[in-house]
Symmetry: D3
Subunit: 290 residues, 6 copies
């Protein structure tokens, strides 16, 4: 299962390299230069609050880039639910290397486990048939990591970028009907998902008839969503119906109701954008080597 | 005042380039290819909740990198407090360019204004003499932007990285007294701030006598902090005393009490790490050109 | 129409920078150092054979990066069919700059117009209802440019990369039925195109019943394709049917027959991978300035 | 012999990294996320048509960058002539890694072996004393790889870039005689090859007298070339004569005649620019691990 | 001790990669392509003049990047004083790899050992209590390496960049008193070193009273320096006094006198900027493998 | 003339970007944040010692990258000899921008003018017919800038990198005669300069007979050089003779004698590697804007 939850390897390498460069410029770790020669340590990553783990590939990459000779003994995997004070992995080797890696490794783990934990809250709250989707509201430059953490938390990934599929919003349809817009998109980009935004039932009707692959039902109440779901079911009969997405202002208090309306997906930026971090620490047991 | 609040220009350029690359790979904005030729628009960035603005340099750089011909008319500056529905700037030009820039520009504004707004809550809550400090717990690769947003929110920046100054924690002092550690640091890195972590009063005493520039008072109650402040005052007399920092588990409910204990600085990672975003939207008024 | 044909701007900038770095290392253009001071020229890009133009954004970017003061007067757009000896643009300014830009600008134009011209041959040859699709067989590191040139030649773009959509080949379905594979893909990646490879009619049947968005009909004869099209039509009735792609060993002599079988798409790597270049030259009219 | 045929290692690393980034953005290989955990495979690279191999260093680097744990058992070297269905190497390890590496590894092999195979056709066709030279007409950003493939095909490399040596064309000689131009070049860039373009015999005469190291005989017929060769021999007597290059519109039907005229080199962009690819496939034998 | 003398690892990696790219573009080492297959060698780095070694991490990284299979047996460490003809390390493996690595490895060693050796001359010449400081006058892009070489030579590092600490020169104090300037700096950047430039005694007085952490005594004679030291001692009494730096036109003939004036630091750009290199060679013992 | 003296533009851009990044990490210029809003200045670059200017393209690029709105009024060009206290250019605009640009701009000017000035000393000292050549001993990563500064000082550039031409040293000729080595090099790399190192007259004889383009006469006395020159003249008669280079331990006291021996070139690493800098300052005239 873990492969599905992994961020792309080259992104991990690049982001970790940036994080280290940012923390070690221009003279390296001044404080570490005061350590006795040959000091070593064993250090354990400990979760301070219960949550869902994510970011382990990044933390391990931090350790590797700082010092390939560190011995890593990793416990938890991305997507794993862990209780307070659980150990998620330990590392043994040069104390200097561990102190340099400490902050960046923890920053990745706290940040990404925070997203996974927060996502799991939304997924758990939605007891109906709808799945939970993230959005393109993500921290700039870190999208692939955040989307992996969202998967670790049990939700699904919406578009990764503007090239993945077509979304037709009102601004894209200036002077064109939905039908003409979908036809143009289908002609130019066959095989791609065509997604149409609808604020009103007549737009849902038009998008369904036009053969959209997915329809975003924007800012509708549970009742309005149910009506839209019914309309689409009626129009499609036995044939394949478009994926229906509820979006707009959904939070932990309203997600459950929406999940029972028959829509397929509920999207919200709240899974990751501005998610609180998960508190994780590094317990270091250092000793001078003789 | 705004210069003090600006992030470094080359960081802005680089981070924006990464954010655009991430959102436009590999085929550009598919949906925009459906727009009528020559469509233009005017669009306005509108704050949906009251808060403190940050990230304007990034948002403007997004617009510039996407299309240097866009006309930008910027209103609010970083650090400005704005009310609900305030406009913070507008842009006129190619509709395609505006649609491409929309999400990355908003992501920067929402993320960084979220940090500034959250920081201002802490600064406002601390009515005593202590100033508020951030930490090195920041989103990987984005530290200089987050630290600028912290300044926009009215707090101050702690160490930017491991090279800025020396921090002596227990692991750095294996087999050395605080006095010996400070002396070694002073010998090797003259002119640099030397900062010592103290959990107990005897360590405060030792660090003060050793001539530390700053002392981190870790996880102390307001009463303990007051005692530590008194001890340092007594030891230093008329001479210069070290900067005293309270740290550890401080939140919005406890920061005010701590700010009245006589410490100089209160540091907390909560200003930016995992701060909620500020809701900001882009109102687009599009038209086809004749 | 030209926006639909454009490669992403940041890719153009990056690829051009690499092309210039490769041609000017480490001492710049030695020969240009012999030119008289202040020499200027007007130079015209002339197509030596009839064809379809592509790569104009790259050629203009070469000129801009070499010397922002060059005056560019561009004629033809990407996707335009031009006859032998047609001028596609001219440039006026420093002779040194023009000589430095000459080879890289021509290399982009010849290479990408070659792809567009070659693609147009396939598109013209397919007189039936099927559209022509490219593949992921592209020159390493230059895919977004080649895919734009394919659009300029009148064909469509298949997947841009492994993240765009799901393709299930036999190796992906080890120990899973097509039905189970599509269901798993739909569960994990809702909203994404799910594409199934089929060598035999029973696989076409299974993929259609499983609700695949697209089916690759691999190495089938026109008759087999017609049978597969009929089967899918029967299974889907009034409802939406999957996109049907014919693939495998199709060339200029066979594409027309395939295009009349009722499939939606014909994919071939021959559009761009190893396409011959289009011969284009730069006629320089130089003069010494007084 | 293989060292002479290798592309520079750091170029290989960089180009492969770009090719992988281009194919895995932003969410990695979606299809691979559906594989059973622990699936492994052995896969063999098989040439579908006879040809000359090139690009093996790139293919191996793709495998290494995707997964350092893959076991590679490589057979053929760059420059080797292989028959239809020859195996050129095999790889064993994680099925996911092999599927991710498949397309980029094959793209490098097909593209570069195509150039080597095409080059060998020209080299084989030229039965006279002249050697075959490539040009600076190469795919942007990939020149060092293409030039290595040209060597693998048995031809030689002309200038690598504008800094390697001096070429004096008519535009470089505005208001200067060939004699003055060569003297200026010799004065400023002693030790560098000075190459003069000549369209007519009087220019050949002038360039030889001026002491050029090489003369490009542009667009001359075999008879004209023989006359030029004779003229140079006469002028130089026992002393060293310049290298004579025939260039302009030479193809597979004319190269043999030119190779017997006494010129040293025949240059043509047709070796690599727009060369057809060589068909190579990957036969995968996958199995689920127990 | 060596950790204190090391340059940051990621800087070493990056700078070495640039040095190799610069020396191998675009066709690699042409001369090495003529070597017999399988030739190997053992080569020894030998110091031609007595001096202080620096740059060993860079030299080893050059060897590693050129060929990870080279066996390195390193002798001397950064900071070690070595006599004429001392061996500082040897390497065994592919002759081609050693020839490619030779020049870049030697360039790093000669350049950085030159700085260390030159720095040691200044440090040795200053027999008084003052320590020696470098400046921000460094070769562009190589500062972290030069600052490490300065430490290897026994001197200390001043500011690494404009972000490390605050320096108030006259231009920063336009219309502000020193007192107001220090207060503003202290308010905005608590915890940071505040350094004030003083040309005259009244400025020294003002800076001391304002609580500056350090004072630059610019272009003062030994007598003036002594007066300034006395003034500060008087003002500070028992309390902590600011660090006093003598700067301006100090060279090998004047540094000793300055070092006895009671200042803490003597800064000079002459340690590294324009320092002569140390002559180091590589003795290669090559053999063809059977 | 200046074009011949210019470093490549893209190198200038890249190296300047690195120099600025190195000086502004991670929080920008702290001191500049204290400046009054809107302060402006005019600043003049003034040479403190007589010398030869170089690096002006870099200094201007620093100003441009820091602030495109600065007005630059440049006086001196690279290669110009200037007297003590000569102004070489001035800049007007934001005081903050000028203070940020000051150190990097001066570092480039001092470093590169130092090389040009030092080179001119060698060129001036060699009153004979030989020209002066640099070597590949250069500061890592900055070779193209140093080679341009060498040209500004009046000397010539030897090989730029290992790809420019072939140099056969004893290690390249293991088990091969000079004749066989030259023949192999000529066969594989036609058109490239072939340069042979000779320690003894018999090697000079062999290299000349083998048709080498250039011969390095290593560590020979003026008398030995004269003998070698005579031998080559005898062997070549009327025909073209190879370029003769004297190398090894040549300095300002010996260069003149060598320049009168009849060799063509004298090469020495002393022109740039470890050259002293030229003292240049920036006189700033600041004012607060009203």
């Amino acid at each position: 299962m873990s492969r599905y939850l992994d961020p792309p390897r080259h992104d991990v390498r690049e982001v970790v390299a940036r994080a280290l460069a940012e923390d070690l410029t221009p003279l390296g770790d001044l404080s570490a230069t005061l350590l006795p020669s040959g000091a070593t340590a064993t250090a354990t990553f400990v979760v301070r609050d219960a949550g869902v783990v994510a970011g382990t590939a990044c933390a391990r990459e931090v350790l590797r880039q700082v010092d390939p000779d560190l011995e890593i003994d990793w416990g938890a995997s991305d997507g794993e639910r862990v209780g307070e004070l659980a150990s998620i992995g330990s590392v043994t080797g040069s104390l200097e290397s561990i102190l340099i890696a400490e902050r960046p490794a923890l920053n990745f783990l706290m940040y990404l486990s925070g997203i996974a934990t927060n996502t799991a809250r939304y997924v758990d709250a939605a007891s109906g048939s709808a799945k939970v989707w993230d959005t393109r509201k993500t921290t700039p430059g870190l999208r692939s990591l955040e989307k992996a953490a969202v998967r670790a938390g049990g939700a699904r990934n919406h578009r990764g970028n503007l090239s993945d599929w077509i979304m037709l919003k009102d601004n894209h349809l200036m002077g064109m009907s939905i039908d003409a817009g979908v036809a143009l998109a289908r002609d130019r980009w066959p095989g791609r998902t065509i997604h149409v935004e609808a604020d009103r039932l007549d737009q849902v009707d038009a998008a369904t008839r036009a053969g959209a692959d997915a329809i975003l039902l924007d800012n509708m109440s549970p009742d309005e969503l149910r009506t839209a779901v019914g309309l689409v079911a009626e129009l499609c009969g036995e044939g394949r119906r478009p994926l229906l997405e509820a979006s707009g202002g959904i939070d932990l208090t309203t997600i459950d109701a929406v999940s029972h309306t028959g829509v397929d997906m509920i999207s919200t930026s709240k899974l990751c954008f501005g998610a609180p971090t998960l508190d994780i620490g590094l317990d270091i047991d250092a000793r001078a080597t003789t």
